[in-house]
Amino acid sequence: MNKILAVFKREYFTRVKKKSFIIITILIPLMILLLMTLPVLMTLFKSGTTNIAILDNSGLFTESIEGSRSIPIKFVQGNIEQWKDKFSKDFDALLHIPNIDLQYPGGIKLYTEKQIGLSQITFFEKQIEQKIERLRYEKEGIDKDLVEKLKASINIESIVISGDQEKTSNTVISLILGQIMAFFQYFMIFFYGSMIMKGVMDEKKSRIVEILVSSVRPFQLMMGKIVGIAAVALTQLAIWAVLITLIFVFFSVSVMPYLTSTQATAEMPAEMQSNLTYQIVDFINNPGALNIPLIIFTFSFYFIFGYLFYSTLFAAVGSVSDDESQAQSFTLPISIPIILSLMIMFNVADQPHSPLAFWASIIPFSSPIVMLARIPYNIPIWQLFLSIALLIFSFFISTWVSGKIYRSGILLYGKKLTWKDLGKMVKAK
């Protein structure tokens, strides 16, 4: 046990102290922060305010166009030809509305010396459109406020009936949450699985392994490595969780107000906005609809055991490979189920109760990824138990098989091995 601990510590500390680990761990939350704040940053860097002069020759918009903090406006009088030459002294841009025909409104122009943002153009377009619409309604003798009142916006609320309880199912949230978890799992299995494989190959390549196996049992070496690298993954996960939470808090406190004041939300398609906001609001009001503790438990379980199951296989492949090309041919049978799981997962997220979804979330090769996409949809609990039991069982089998291959594989140098050889290793006493 002490020896596994020594191997574990070596694996953990050499990896956590590596520059690449520190960089990736910090860089990814920073990238998320950057992506989230980019729209705001862009408006901030864009010189702050854009002064706009409006020359309204139609006289229709004098009261209906408003400026904003970052786009102050001022109405000017006169002729467009005289203003064209001199607006740049006092203003950044000149919006000219000619005497327009309500039926065919055209010829509205924005004169500027610098390129102006698309959002600022839509800012005015929206206001002018609204005014023209209102004028048209008036012309036809229709009460605009009445029309607004008559407009319909509906949202079908889906309710899951299980036993006596009725639960609101947040389909959009379930879909997004499930896909994010499954995709993350996919990424982590590949990333850390290859890390194990490479670690085993490096020990073989650097020829330190023979010194090691005279002091540590191959099984202890393999398990120490697998658990050590799992701890690296969990450390990274924990740091990400903390940093991303901090970013969200920072974001909602200091950045969100800026974002809502600009036109970012207005540009989102209307249906998506209403549906998503509706569900988010609903989710915040009633989080019990999603079984959060169950989701956290399931994610943690599949994250750990999915990783453990695949990592033993990756360790076995590393032990029988002398070089990258050899490793590639042996990894193929492991990679294919992982990639297939991801493809199935997208389908399952859409149809969580199909037979494909059922089988893929039970079979241990795909369950660590596929089950995560299903779990927010309240699946029958016996399916979850079956899947968990099978994954744990398969982990023991894969550990046993891989341990056998690993034991012989790490001491073989320069021999091209076939699948038949691997079979012999497993059968050997």
Partner: protein, 312 residues
């Protein structure tokens, strides 16, 4: 006798190839034992059983008078420098040695104390903070040697320890091996380079195709294989046609190689007397066979015996 290691009937087969066939060996405390044989003879198979890396199909061995030692205490008592050896390239030298100390079961203070001692002794301390990949091959070999001996094992197994070493480092390690022997350590020196063994080993075993071809005290073996031939540096003339009391096996402008015809009653003195009658002698030296010659002769003899056996 003080046999620290006693090997009794070890047998190991790999996929119908007999790697070791019923091996019996004894080693005394405080000696350097030469385990000799060509590549693929079974040396590494034997070492892997002794270090607990593999299990024998049959047979057993006793280390320090107890049988069936468990893996952990075996690994603590044995220092093993494998032929295929290396270090973690991206780990600092001290950290790797510390790690080896930990998996051998030493505590932190023991490790520190012993590493300081051996680090200074072998000139390795100056590289403690460097990564292995920054060291030259020779430096790495010194680190590996320290990794093999620093935790004070009683049996030290060195598999081709001098491969890739320059003459200076070879000497340094050779000196260290002899010093370890004088401190009472038992050293198994495994190699296919017979000439390296002749300098430092007392007892040897020659192994070929899984069988022990020859074992025992090196001097006794050499004497038992001697052919009673002598190299004579002389002045004078010997006629080629004349029939002397000795055969001239080889001749050269400056020396002769001779052998007594009366092989049953020969001795160096009697042969010297015989040749002194004809020429002036400057030097007279017995030629003992090299281990290489003995080995080749033995292997050939065995394969001839086998052929003979088949014909009958």
């Amino acid at each position: 006798m003080d046999n620290i290691l006693r090997i009794e009937g070890l047998t190991k087969e790999y996929e119908n190839v007999v790697a070791l066939n019923n091996i019996y060996l004894e080693m005394q405390k405080g000696t350097i034992f030469g385990l000799l044989g060509p590549n693929g003879a079974g040396k590494t198979s034997l070492i892997r059983i002794l270090t607990g890396i593999t299990l024998p199909d049959k047979g057993k061995f006793t280390l320090e008078y107890t049988e069936n030692k468990d893996f952990d205490s075996l690994s603590r008592m044995i220092g093993y420098l494998p032929e295929e050896r290396g270090l973690y390239p991206d780990m600092k030298v001290y950290e790797q040695l510390d790690f080896i100390g930990q998996i051998k079961g030493l505590n932190k203070t023991e490790i520190k104390e012993k590493l300081n001692y051996w680090g200074d002794k072998m000139g390795v301390s100056q590289w403690f903070k460097k990564k292995a990949q920054e060291l030259s091959k020779g430096m790495q070999q010194m680190v590996q040697f320290v990794a093999t001996v620093f935790y004070d094992p009683s049996l030290i197994i060195l598999d081709e320890p001098f491969t890739g070493l320059d003459p200076i480092n070879t000497n340094k390690i050779k000196k260290e091996i002899i010093e370890l022997k004088n401190q009472g350590k038992t050293i198994i020196f495994s190699t296919h380079r017979m000439e390296q063994v002749e300098e430092i080993c007392v007892d040897i075993a020659l192994i070929n195709k899984g069988n022990i071809v020859l074992k025992g005290n090196l001097e006794e073996i050499k004497n038992s294989f001697k052919k009673n031939i002598f190299k004579v540096v002389y002045e004078g003339t010997l006629s080629e046609n004349k029939d002397y009391e000795f055969d001239i096996i080889d001749t050269n402008d400056s020396y002769l190689i001779i052998k007594d015809k009366d092989i049953a009653n020969t001795s160096p003195n009697s042969l010297l007397k015989k040749i002194m009658q004809y020429v002036d002698i400057h030097s007279f030296v017995e030629i003992l066979p090299t281990l290489n010659e003995i080995f080749i002769e033995q292997v050939e003899k065995i394969s001839e015996d086998l052929k003979g056996g088949n014909n009958e």
